[in-house]
C-alpha cells in the first residue's frame, strides 16, 4: 500500500515569493514579489538561495516562532545536488532533510514531514521549495541570452519560493492522507514536452490513491496537478478516459493556470516545483475552491546526460489529500 491516512497534521500557514513574470500572471496577491531575477544578489543561483531564506524568515516571524521551535526542515529545488536548499538551510540551524523528485518535490516534502510528525505530540516543521527560471534555463537548457526558439509544448520554469509550516495543532488545512507514486516511463524522450512525460505518472498515482482508499474522483472538490501545463493536462484527461474510463471534471493544473494566456513567453504553462504551492496557497486556498482537495505533484526526472544519450524520461507523481475547514 502506497497510501496512508494521516492523523492530526495540519498546514498552519505558508509564505510565498514570486518572480517578475509570475507577478504579471493570474495571481495578484503574493506575499512578496521580485522585480528582477537577481533579487539584489550577484547570480541567479544566489538569488534563489536568498528567496528561500526570505520566505522561511518571514514565515517564522509571522507565526512568532524561532529557529529553535522548528524540529525539521524538509526542502527541495531543481538545482544540481539540491544545493540551493542546502545553502539556504546552512544559515538556519534547523535539522534538515533534502528531497528531490523534480517538480514533485513539494508534495514529497509534505509526505516526509507529515510522516515524521505523526508520532510526535507537539511539533513544528517546515516544508520549503523553490525554483528560478533563469537558474533552471542555464542548468537544463541553453544560455539565457541565447533565446533558442522552443516548441509550443515547452513549459516555463516558474520563479518563486514557498515555505509552509506544518503543525500538530488543528488549523484550517488538514493533511488527510497521502499516496507515494511509482516511477513511470512511457517512452517519451523529448525534454521539451514534459507534460507528456509526466501525465501517465499523475494518472497512476491518482488511480492507486482512489483504489487504495476506496474513493472515486467525485470525492474531491478539486484535483490539482502540479505542472503538466495546458497540453499535459489535456493528455492526462484523455489518458484517464481511455485507460480507466474516468472523466476528470474537477481538475485544474497549476502550471496551466499560473500565467495568463496573453503571456506568450510561457508557452504551455508553468513548471518547476514551486508552481503547485504558489497556486495552491495563493489562489486555491485563499479563494476557497473546495473542501476536499487532492494535490498531485508531478516531476519529470530527467538528466541532461541521459537526454543526450536518447534514453526515455522517467517521471514521478505523489499525491496528498487536503481537507479545508
Amino acid at each position: 500500500m502506497a497510501s496512508k491516512k494521516v492523523n492530526n497534521v495540519y498546514i498552519k500557514d505558508a509564505f510565498s515569493i514570486a518572480g517578475p513574470v509570475e507577478k504579471r500572471g493570474s495571481i495578484q496577491n503574493y506575499d512578496l514579489t521580485m522585480d528582477d531575477y537577481y533579487y539584489k544578489t550577484k547570480t541567479f543561483e544566489q538569488a534563489e538561495i536568498k528567496m528561500q531564506k526570505v520566505v522561511v524568515e518571514n514565515l517564522l516571524q509571522k507565526n512568532h516562532l524561532l529557529h529553535s521551535d522548528i524540529d525539521l526542515l524538509v526542502a527541495g529545488d531543481l538545482s544540481n545536488q539540491i544545493s540551493v536548499s542546502s545553502y539556504a538551510a546552512s544559515t538556519y540551524n534547523i535539522p534538515f532533510l533534502g528531497v528531490y523528485s523534480a517538480c514533485a518535490s513539494f508534495v514529497e516534502s509534505l509526505i516526509v514531514a507529515s510522516e515524521m510528525m505523526e508520532s510526535k505530540k507537539k511539533s513544528n516543521m517546515l516544508c520549503v521549495t523553490s525554483s528560478h527560471n533563469l537558474a533552471a534555463e542555464k542548468q537544463f537548457r541553453f544560455p539565457i541570452e541565447y533565446g533558442a526558439p522552443k516548441p509550443n509544448t515547452t513549459t516555463f520554469t516558474a520563479t518563486g519560493a514557498v515555505a509552509s509550516l506544518l503543525t500538530k495543532e488543528p488549523s484550517k488545512i488538514k493533511i488527510e492522507s497521502y499516496t507515494i507514486g511509482t516511477i513511470v516511463d512511457m517512452g517519451i524522450t523529448d525534454a521539451t514536452h514534459m507534460g507528456a512525460v509526466m501525465a501517465p505518472a499523475a494518472a497512476k498515482v491518482l488511480i492507486s490513491h482512489l483504489t487504495e482508499l476506496n474513493r472515486t474522483v467525485d470525492y474531491y472538490d478539486l484535483i490539482l496537478t502540479g505542472d503538466l501545463g495546458c497540453i499535459g493536462a489535456k493528455i492526462l484527461g484523455e489518458y484517464l478516459k481511455r485507460n480507466h474510463g474516468i472523466r476528470l471534471k474537477n481538475h485544474l493544473d497549476a502550471g496551466c493556470e499560473l500565467y495568463l494566456k496573453s503571456q506568450e513567453e510561457t508557452y504551455a504553462g508553468a513548471s518547476g516545483p514551486v508552481a503547485l504551492p504558489l497556486y495552491l496557497f495563493n489562489k486555491v486556498l485563499k479563494q476557497k475552491k473546495g473542501k476536499r482537495i487532492l494535490i498531485i505533484g508531478t516531476g519529470s526526472l530527467h538528466n541532461l546526460f541521459f537526454v543526450n544519450q536518447k534514453l526515455s524520461i522517467p517521471s514521478i507523481a505523489h499525491a496528498v489529500s487536503l481537507e479545508v475547514a
Partner: protein, 145 residues
Amino acid sequence: MNKEEYQKLVEQYTPKEKKLKNAVIAFLVGGSIGFMGQVVVTIFQNSFGMEVTESYAWLCILIILISCFLTALGFFDNWVSKCKAGLFLPTTGFAHSVTSSALDYKKDGFITGLGANFFKLAGSVILYGMVSAFFLAVLGVIIYG
C-alpha cells in the same frame, strides 16, 4: 495502453509547429540581413576604397561587433524568438552564441566558468566547420588538381 499507443495519444494533442510560417520569416529576416550586408560591403568598396576581400573582412567584424553588443544588451534573445532561425546566420549566430555563454558563466570564474563554457554552443560549429572544410579542400584538390 502501451508505449506506442501512448506516443500516438501524445502526438494527437501536440500542436503542430508552424514550419512554413517560421521558414518564411527566417528567409525574409535572414535575406534582409544579407541584403544590408551587401549594401555595407558596397559602401566600403566605393567610399573607403577597400579591396573586395578586405571589405568582406570588415563587414564580418562589424556584424560580430553588433551582434555581441545586442546580445549583451539583452535584445537578441527576444528578437530570435520572433525572427526564428533568420537571425542565426553563421556570423551573427556564432557571435551571439559565444556572447550568451560568456554572460551566463562570467560569475563562475574566468577560467572555470567563462573560459570553459565560452564555446559551449559554438564548439560544434568550429569542429564540424573545420572537418567539412578539410573534406571540401581534399575534394577540390582531386577535382581541380
